[in-house]
């Protein structure tokens, strides 16, 4: 489980390279768009800034944003229009800034909350161990604002059966269709071929021998004289007898029992993103 704070506190670069990019830089001027990101992970409602990427390395970027007034925000998500006409995104936090002719020039590292939102583990739902519910690490409003900006794309990862009452994850078992108990006894039937008699195997047992209660034939041989057949299930809870059991769900959170066909079927939704990978960018450029 990853919480909001934990996600924000997991930078891609280590502390030693915190203030200075040590990796080899790829100098390339490419147009970019930048959205400022609020502390809670949502995009700022103001219009995105336009600008240029100056250089990129494995741990950060240098870029310029056009604006008439100085830009004070320090967390951005940038979308770089790559030479293959695909816009790729990266989450950054500003390390230093300086004024330039058209606006502000930034030096930034790939870390901070914006970078966390773009990480794959934060774009896919995980199972909350306490509530037994699937959820995403950030609040839904974060993903909605990023999706509205075109940075994230919603995708259905799976369909899951959930508790109809609390939407938690259940376990499933074949159980009594009357009381939904899984405590069952299963009987075996014997079909005696010569007289067509069918009864529970216990009716045939006489000491260590098997004797047909109908025709009184003794020393029956399995396969030649008789066959075993699946018999009825008897519920130890309510005494209900049935040959067929019902697939039953048991909610791990609220302990509700329900028939499998009553389970709430929901889509597990995640998000796809085109991430700005410096190495991939290098191969595209070269």
């Amino acid at each position: 489980m990853t919480t909001l704070n934990q996600a924000a506190a997991s930078p891609i670069i280590d502390a030693a390279r915190h203030n200075e990019r040590t990796e080899r830089r790829l100098t390339r001027v490419l147009p970019l768009v930048a959205w400022s990101v609020r502390a809670d992970g949502q995009l700022d409602e103001s219009a995105p800034y336009g600008g240029f990427l100056k250089d990129i390395s494995a741990d950060g970027v240098e870029f310029e944003l056009h604006s008439e007034s100085p830009i004070a925000q320090s967390t951005f998500v940038i979308g770089v229009e790559c030479p293959d006409s695909v816009t790729r995104y990266a989450g950054i936090s500003v390390r230093h800034r300086s004024e330039c002719a058209n606006g502000t020039r930034f030096g930034a590292a790939f870390d901070g909350i914006a970078n966390s939102v773009l990480e794959e583990r934060c774009r896919k739902p995980f199972l909350d161990e306490k509530l037994f519910q699937y959820r995403l690490p950030f609040p839904p409003t974060v993903y909605e604002s990023w999706e509205a900006a075109g940075i994230l794309k919603r995708s259905v990862l799976d369909r899951v059966m959930l508790c109809p009452r609390c939407r938690s994850v259940p376990t499933f078992r074949f159980a009594c269709r009357n009381c939904r108990s899984g405590r069952l006894d299963h009987s075996l039937l014997i079909h005696h071929f010569p007289c067509a008699f069918v009864a529970p195997s216990t009716d045939f047992e006489r000491g260590e021998d098997l004797v047909c209660p109908k025709c009184l034939t003794k020393k029956l041989v399995a396969g030649t004289d008789f066959e075993f057949m699946p018999g009825e299930f008897t519920c130890r809870g309510c005494g209900w007898k049935d040959q067929d059991l019902e697939q039953t769900g048991h909610c791990l959170n609220c302990e509700t029992r329900f028939a499998a066909h009553q389970a709430a079927e929901e889509e597990l939704v995640g998000y796809d993103a085109q991430r700005l990978d410096p190495l991939a960018l290098l191969s595209i450029v070269e």
């Binding site: 079909h191 071929f193 010569p194 069918v198 007898k241």
Partner: protein, 428 residues
């Protein structure tokens, strides 16, 4: 031509006329004629004297378990379940899939989900035969009456009510019902069978039940007192398990009733070859295997369970279903060898044909008297001029089937029972 025939007949001696009558009585049609005409006259007089007769309300409502056992009947089982569900208050429906490979259970399962308290589907992993499939029902229900219905037979809405009413009488162990042909107008083959079913089941069994000599309740639709089925520990290995069960219940001292208006509609073979195979099976396992061999003790006056009605049932079956066939062969040979040349004269056969058709017409009157659907039955009766030919064909088939059973015990090798069961079944 008619005057020539009358003229020819008027010159026959009494011995010759008697000889012709013997031949007539060896055929099925004229025999039914006598019994059904008497029965119809009796009912007509009784109904006239007591107009309320036969209009009793349904006042007996035991719990019923309808057992629909079948193999590879996925196309028709849904219609059968639909014809049963909702027609009776204290109802269970057990669908027993005898190891089908065509998804019969899957076809029945939606009804189990829709009516979980009524319909249950039991699936056997592999085939075990119809008798054992029916026997499975005994360990799955506590209903007072078991109603066996074929998976390809549909009941009329009040059929279950009709079939349980005779159980008011504690001495009734089994109730036989009417089986009608659903595909009667498909071709001449099904048309003949439809007329035959009407005469031999709808009318014939009523007469047999009145005379207490009814030996069978059709496997397609019959009701059994569950307590008796349980006491007998279920059906024995078939074919002919329906006939066998009824005789075993008769031997316990119980009577067999016939519910004429408990009607089910079933499909009959549409090809002559299929009809031939079906009848060869039916005819072979009836009088020879079950009556003459397995249950011949019902004719033994020294047996502790001897009953006069069972003895007459034995006589009726052996005489009419077995001896009449061979009698007909002997009669034909005797006719042909007549020194007077009687057997060679066309008028002899014309007379027999005319008399046989006439003998079909009297039961037709009885049929119309009892029929709940006179228009349909009237149209079916148009086949009556050709029925003597059909009956003659069946008679030849019966002789063949009985001979095969007597000589080879052919019923024990029928595909009706799986090989692993047939191999260890007792031979009677």
């Amino acid at each position: 031509m008619l005057s020539d025939l009358i003229h020819w007949l008027s010159y026959r001696s009494w011995n010759e006329v008697l000889l012709l009558l013997v031949g007539l009585m060896l055929l099925d049609g004229p025999r039914y004629c006598l019994a059904t005409t008497c029965m119809c006259l009796y009912d007509w007089v009784a109904d006239t004297l007591n107009p309320k007769r036969g209009q009793e309300e349904y006042d007996h409502c035991p719990s019923v378990c309808v057992v629909i056992a079948g193999l590879n009947e996925s196309e028709v089982v849904a219609a059968t379940i639909e014809s049963v569900v909702g027609t009776y208050p204290r109802l269970e429906v057990l669908v027993i899939d005898d190891g089908s490979t065509d998804g019969m259970s899957a076809a029945a399962r939606p009804y189990m989900l829709a009516h979980p308290e009524i319909v249950r589907v039991i699936t056997r992993p592999w085939r075990g035969g119809k008798s054992s499939a029916l026997n499975i029902s005994l360990s799955h229900t506590k209903a007072e009456v078991l109603v066996a219905v074929d998976a390809d037979s549909q009941l009329e809405p009040n059929s279950l009510w009709e079939i349980v009413q005779p159980f008011k009488d504690e001495t009734i162990g089994v109730v036989s019902a009417t089986v009608c042909v659903r595909n009667a107008f498909t071709n001449l083959c099904t048309w003949f069978q439809a007329v035959e079913y009407l005469q031999s089941i709808f009318i014939g069994r009523k007469a047999a039940a009145m005379l207490q000599v009814l030996p069978i309740a059709s496997g397609a639709f019959a009701a059994y007192r569950r307590e008796l089925s349980e006491r007998l520990r279920g059906w024995d290995v078939g074919p002919g398990e329906d006939l066998d069960m009824v005789i075993r219940i008769r031997k316990l001292g119980y009577r067999i009733a016939f519910a004429q208006y408990a009607i089910c509609h079933t499909e009959v073979p549409t090809k002559w070859k299929a009809l031939f195979k079906q009848r060869r099976r039916w005819e072979g396992d009836g009088p020879v295997r079950h009556i003459l061999r397995k249950h011949n003790d019902i004719a033994n006056p020294l047996h502790k369970n001897f009953m006069l009605t069972n003895f007459f049932t034995f006589l009726d079956n052996v005489t009419f279903n077995l001896l009449c066939g061979y009698g007909m062969v002997a009669w034909l040979v005797y006719m042909v060898m007549q020194p007077s040349g009687l057997g060679m004269e066309p008028y002899t056969w014309l007379t027999i044909y005319a008399a046989t058709v006439a003998a079909e017409i009297l039961p037709l009157v009885a049929l119309m008297y009892y029929s709940p659907n006179r228009k349909r039955d009237g149209i079916l009766a148009l086949a009556i001029p050709l029925m003597p030919i059909y009956r003659l064909g069946l008679l030849i088939l019966r002789i063949y089937a009985n001979t095969c059973e007597i000589v080879y015990r052919k019923s024990f090798y029928e595909a009706h029972v799986p090989t692993h069961v047939a191999n260890v079944t007792w031979r009677w």
